[in-house]
Symmetry: C2
Subunit: 338 residues, 2 copies
């Protein structure tokens, strides 16, 4: 297998494999969203030391982007209830990332209809953030287009993360992708919100996303959840089929069953720019202790919602209760709702 | 997708996909090896109640085979050190499975050079065991052939589980498969002993195994380990490509990082003969309590041996020690050995 170039004319078509497990591709970007997706498990209440440690680990391990939190509207979210990474003020971000130039770019997630992007997002020249990731549902597409245009107009890189597509009709998805491809967005993300997608579905969707995106000169990304122990498997499946932006989190720290673990993904990638050793140190010093504060990762209730293509909220509520190991009871509860 | 028939002439070729995630195939056999592979974590010291519960769960959930232990030679293994499921006497097996006819077949694993098969395995007419699975390494192929012939001659179904193939040269593997296909063995297993194989390798190996096996009228099976969180993903990959015998364990209970969980596999299979509810009950009543006695499942040291295509023994020893969470130390130890 030989190293591929970035030149578009040498890229294989959207329906072909793009490299194998021995290849490394310069278009690959690893995006660690530990602080952002993990923040869904503690209302974004990570202390500065933890966020600094993740940032230092991203730099040392060669990760391309670090997602540091949300740009939530202060009129919608209580600052008593939510920590500072729900808002990601320039001041807070600068305090933890420091002033030194860094090899890792910074991203922030901005939910459609929950972000005051006109007022809360400054021009890129006044910000240390590089990429805004616009998170949206299918019914919010018109508002999404406006938001992408506005944030792009401020000078940022942008991605769009279309969520919960496993419950979207294919024709609607096609129409949404067409509309999104007419915006200036840089990256279109395939998002498995419920951890319900199997490899064959990931394959078909990756081909669909690439077909739309590459015709418009855009990249494709993937964001997975581990409800069925497929987060990593589906990420490398999408990677092999040409996906460029790969989301992961240290120790899989993320909502519910968690995400594709950074340590598995970096172990797979053969590009010598990535280093696993700093991640081992981060796991030992920061992720293992975090497990005493918050609980995440594969468990049977998450598997059951994933298998049924349901939002994990009922599993999260059940696992917060006293009967968390009564898997039979949760199974019967779900069966009764069908 | 329509239901496929068992007739050989209607089977797709060895190089094609065999069904999709919505298909169900009558050739599929689910083999639960909780007691056998789990026995590697406690020297086969499961009490009768646990083994009875797994047996009852296999029957209720539609599992096709239950593997109850090893046929270890008593001259090699101390009966003080090892529990009764290291030996699987007819008496012990009959005591837990009872006399009633059952829908689940019973299998026992027999290691080449560690089984006194001439004396310890009776004729099938005098046994409740249905299938002997001959476990072997590449250098034991001549002894394996003799053993398969002898056990087949006693009237049993047989499989051969060729272990550690991730460190075997392809030409040697081809030669071994050719030789094994000339024996009367019924099923040839693709075994990922180190949990090191990626989906593309599983695909290529499944095609190779099917090509050899189907020319000889044999089935292919798969047995995976979860070192890289790929046990389930690789099992369904092999399944889609035509593998018939699928190994799994309740809660993934098995050596080191464990195996493909029965609950994930049954949730994937669309054949209405399989039922998930009894497995939920078994997990709650027997597997959750077992986690207080023995430790198994994905952990970073297993990931590191899997990524480096090493036997998990060094990870198992490290995780038994006081520094089990010092992932950096284990990483450095492995790196020094390269």
């Amino acid at each position: 297998m030989s190293q591929q170039t970035d030149a578009a004319e040498k890229q294989p078509g959207w329906n072909q494999k793009k490299g194998s497990w021995l290849t490394f591709r310069p278009d690959i970007k690893v995006l660690d969203c530990t602080v952002r997706d993990g923040g869904l498990m503690n209302n974004c209440r990570f202390d500065d030391d933890f966020v600094k440690a993740i940032h230092a680990t991203c730099i040392a391990s060669g990760v391309d982007y670090m997602e540091i939190g949300y740009k939530g509207a202060r009129r919608l979210y209580s600052q008593q209830e939510f920590g500072r990474w729900k808002f990601c003020s320039e001041e807070d971000v600068r305090r933890v990332v420091g002033d030194a130039p860094s090899s890792v770019k910074l991203s922030v997630m901005a939910d459609v209809d929950r972000t005051d992007y006109h007022t809360d997002i400054p021009a890129k020249a006044d910000s240390v953030i590089d990429l805004y990731r616009v998170a949206t549902y299918i019914h919010q597409i018109p508002a999404t287009v406006e938001m992408i245009q506005a944030i792009h107009g401020k000078g940022y890189e942008t991605s769009v993360n279309l969520m919960a597509i496993s419950v979207v009709q294919e024709q609607e998805l096609d129409e949404a992708l067409e509309i999104l491809c007419r915006t200036p967005v840089d990256v279109i993300y395939l998002v498995d919100s419920y951890g319900s997608l199997y490899s064959e579905e990931i394959q078909a969707l990756t081909r669909k996303y690439r077909q739309h995106a590459e015709a418009a000169g855009k990249k494709v990304g993937i964001h997975t959840h581990n409800n069925q122990q497929l987060a990593y498997a589906n990420t490398i499946e999408a990677l092999i089929l040409g996906t460029s932006f790969l989301d992961c989190t240290m120790g899989g720290l993320g909502r519910g069953a968690g995400n594709c673990p950074t340590e598995l993904l970096l172990g797979f990638l053969k590009n010598p720019k990535y280093h696993l050793r700093p991640v081992m140190q981060c796991l030992r010093d920061h992720i293992v202790p975090m497990r005493e504060k918050i609980t995440w990762g594969f468990d049977i209730p998450y598997m059951l919602t994933g298998q049924r293509n349901l939002h994990p909220r009922s599993a999260m509520a059940f696992l917060d209760g006293p009967e968390r190991k009564d898997y039979l009871k949760f199974f019967d509860t779900l069966a009764e709702q069908e």
